[in-house]
């Protein structure tokens, strides 16, 4: 199906604070190819895709499908026209069985034909080389598998156009390979694939054509071979590089892990002894759910280890509650900012009052205001003391979370510190984190972005289904090597090397 957008515009809000998410966007996307939509966060990619898939309506402009003007008022309409969208966070039903989830939305008689659905599901799986058990629960799947399920569900419903919004966020390298080969096959079969991303390397290897959005405008397009520098310039209106690695100058040992043994309902992990020095950064790499999250939450005192010791400063905190870890200047920043980090409905000033040491029983509103003003300018947050946190953008929320951290900190634990942020915001966040390091804070962070791990860590721990590598020197590790380790390859080599070194 050929999709054309003609002069699509969409504005959120009114007056000076209005955001022009899409401005007069005219695109033509031919069938049988993978079409990339590239842009940094807030460029208007998701808005455009949500308009195409019926989640929101454009203020003006038309959607033309195979030469016919289409009226799409809801996702149901979009599905009728054959347009299906895969959202960044899979919109599936974790408590359901895979097969039940698969059948959802499919037209059928009152009593669904489970046998037929199961055959269809298995056929599709065979075709694309997926392996998901129909009788397992959706919440037992990895993010990558949930994407696969959603793709198969949409295909079974007969979609001709598949929109994918940042599909490579949070999935492992091998899963990404599977996803890409699936998309290539679908394009060969004549389906239209729209691939939305801010990751240059993904778009570069996958897409047959690219359109770039910036601040709501369509600023250009490109066909292979791609000129990456030019794309970056289009995205940001200037060239950006991450800058050089800044290795730390480690101080004294501040965090010690001894013979740590962790367990959850499916993993059992034994860690080697590890000493972390003040100012050092350790990156945790691995497929989602390989145990790095468990490790991080253990370091924060949220999960109790089944064996071993955790020593912060001079205090053995093994088995102590989270509050004790806080008192010992350990801080933990979860990845879901609005679910676990910030309190929706409360203002920035209220957050800063809560995060500071309590002074007396009564609130000093004026103190809260001035504190907020100070941090807002320190951390370049776009907001005022009375701004409710949920109205901040993702990057501003993450900056607010950093601004909430107390000083000094011995150990800072971060889950996906720059997930969903554009390059500029990420660089800013890391500049602030490195400032912490120079003040003597040790950092452990999780990221699914290998470049980020290599760029900012001093040492790296790789997690693979319950196995943990020894700490690798980041300066002597490559993206390829790391990618292989995450996928479970090349472990013998590094283990030998470590033994050899020892």
């Amino acid at each position: 199906m050929i999709i054309e957008t003609k002069g699509i515009s969409k504005t959120f809000g009114v007056g000076p604070s209005a955001v022009h998410a899409n401005v007069d966007i005219t695109l033509s996307i031919p069938a049988g190819m993978i079409y990339g939509i590239l842009g940094e966060n807030g460029a208007g990619k998701s808005t455009l895709m949500k308009i195409l898939s019926g989640y929101i309506q454009a203020d003006s402009g038309q959607i033309v499908l195979d030469g016919q003007t289409a009226t799409i008022h809801s996702p149901i309409d979009a599905i009728h026209y054959g347009i299906g969208m895969l959202h960044q966070d899979p919109l599936d039903f974790p408590p359901m069985l895979v097969i039940d989830n698969f059948m959802l939305g499919h037209h059928g008689s009152l009593i669904p034909d489970q046998v037929k659905a199961k055959t269809e599901l298995l056929n599709l799986e065979e075709r694309f080389g997926f392996s998901i058990a129909p009788e397992s629960y959706v919440d037992s799947l990895t993010v990558g598998e949930r994407q696969q399920l959603e793709i198969m569900r949409l295909l079974w419903m007969g979609v001709q156009v598949l929109i994918l919004d940042e599909p490579t966020t949070g999935i492992s390298a091998p899963q990404k390979e599977v996803l890409f080969s699936t998309l290539r096959r679908l394009a060969q079969d004549g389906k239209t694939i729209i691939f939305v991303s801010h990751k240059l390397e993904d778009v570069e290897i996958l897409c047959n054509k690219i359109a770039v959005l910036r601040q709501g405008f369509l600023v250009g397009g490109m066909q292979p071979p791609y000129d990456i520098n030019k794309l970056v310039e289009m995205m940001f209106n200037k060239a950006i590089s991450l800058g050089n690695r800044q290795p730390c100058t480690p101080g004294k040992v501040t965090f010690v892990i001894q013979a740590l043994e962790l367990e959850d309902y499916r993993l059992h992990i034994n860690l080697e002894n590890l000493e972390l020095r003040a100012g050092e950064v350790i990156g945790l790499a691995g497929m989602e759910g390989s145990g790095q999250g468990l490790f991080l939450r253990t370091c924060a005192g949220l999960v109790r280890p089944v064996g071993g010791k955790l020593i912060v400063g001079n205090n053995d905190l093994t088995g102590k509650p989270y509050q004790k870890f806080l008192e010992n200047n350990v801080a933990y920043l979860p990845s879901s900012r609005l679910e676990e980090g910030l309190v929706s409905g409360m203002t920035l000033a209220e957050h800063f009052l809560l995060a500071e040491e309590q002074k007396g029983y009564f609130l000093d509103i004026e103190y809260g205001r001035s504190l907020a003003m100070e941090r807002i300018s320190d951390f370049n947050i776009r907001g005022t003391p009375s701004t409710p946190v949920e109205s901040l953008s993702g990057g501003n929320q993450q900056r607010a979370l950093l601004a909430l951290l107390k000083t000094p900190l011995t150990l800072l634990l971060l889950e996906h510190p720059t997930r969903g942020l554009d390059i500029e915001s990420s660089i800013y966040i890391w500049r602030k984190l490195k400032e912490r390091c120079s003040q003597g804070t040790a950092i452990i962070f999780i990221s699914s972005d290998l470049e980020e791990i290599l760029q900012y860590s001093d040492r790296i721990l790789v997690f693979f289904s319950g196995r943990v590598s020894s700490s690798l020197e980041a300066s002597q590790t490559t993206v390829d090597q790391l990618g292989q380790l995450i996928g479970g390859k090349g472990w013998e080599a590094i283990m030998d090397e470590v033994k050899f070194n020892a």
Binding site: V14, G15, Y322, Q323, L326, Y332, P334, E339, E340, G341, L342, V343, S344, G345, M346, E350, L353, L354, A355, Q358, G360, Y361, F362, L363, L404
Partner: protein, 346 residues
Amino acid sequence: MRKLSSTWWNIGFQLLGILLAILFTTLILIFVGAPPLQTYWLIIKGAFSSLNSISNDFVVWVPLILATSGVLITFSAGLWNIGIEGQITLGAIFTTGVLRLLQSTSLPPMLIIFISILAGMLGGAIWAALAGALKTFGGVNEIFGGLGLNFVATALTLWLIFGPWQRPGVGSMSGTEPFRESLWLPQIPELRISLWSVFLGILAVVVVYLLLRSTYFGLKLKAVGKNIRAAFFLGIPTWQYLMISFIACGLLAGLAGAVQVVAVYHRLIPSISSGYGFLGLMVAMLVNYQAIWAAFIAFFYASLNIGAIQLPIVLKLDSSISGILQGMLVLFVLIVDGIRQRLLKQ
């Protein structure tokens, strides 16, 4: 559209909600064949025409504002304390129990009253703590726990009235044997109202207002109510705060029950809570959980209750018509506000 967020629009929308509520109540009145204007006039007259009726408004206002103040605390923690009815009832039971125990001793009556009120607060707090423990340790939603405990409280009252605390002779729905007048909270001569209880009501709403607005406790409670996980990560002891908010609400509910015994009925009667707990939940919703308005709206609701007492006698209309207006007000003000929010988003 930007204007929609201004204060005047806000007030305009609320007035619209009130108008719609009155309109619908009027329709219902016409439907049941009652003259609407006369009905409203009778309610106003019944509520405000004499010193006696105004003092009666306050008799209802005191337990209502105590209950409202209580649920403002639990609402702040994100809890639906439906169990407040039972907490009021337990307050009344504990107060009655202590009064019965001490009435024949030689202690000064004011001391007995004082101890019995404290006991009532304790009773309410215990009942609330039960709902809280069910929630925090048992994973039972406070709505179900509270509902169950309400039934238990009612059953307990009936058992006491017809069992151990039976009147001499035969137990009846009119309650236990009334206490002697020296054990009543002192009332204004010729009127049913006690200035002491009015003072308690005012004190409660002021304290709760300050607590929620100006203290770290209030701010932390709000954080727990709005996002318990984030609050935990920020270092707030979350389950302790949930329990404290239950207990604080229980203390106020128990106080309401105690007032019902020492200042209004002077005995334990079957439905001693008189629905003030549920009414308090409605008032809290109507004032959008802002304590500052609670006192006035609670007084308005109380006067509706009192004003409607006339209706059965004069118009052969059930006095529950005031309940219809009270419910309609909450519904329409909330609906209209919901519509406003939707318009704002667009």
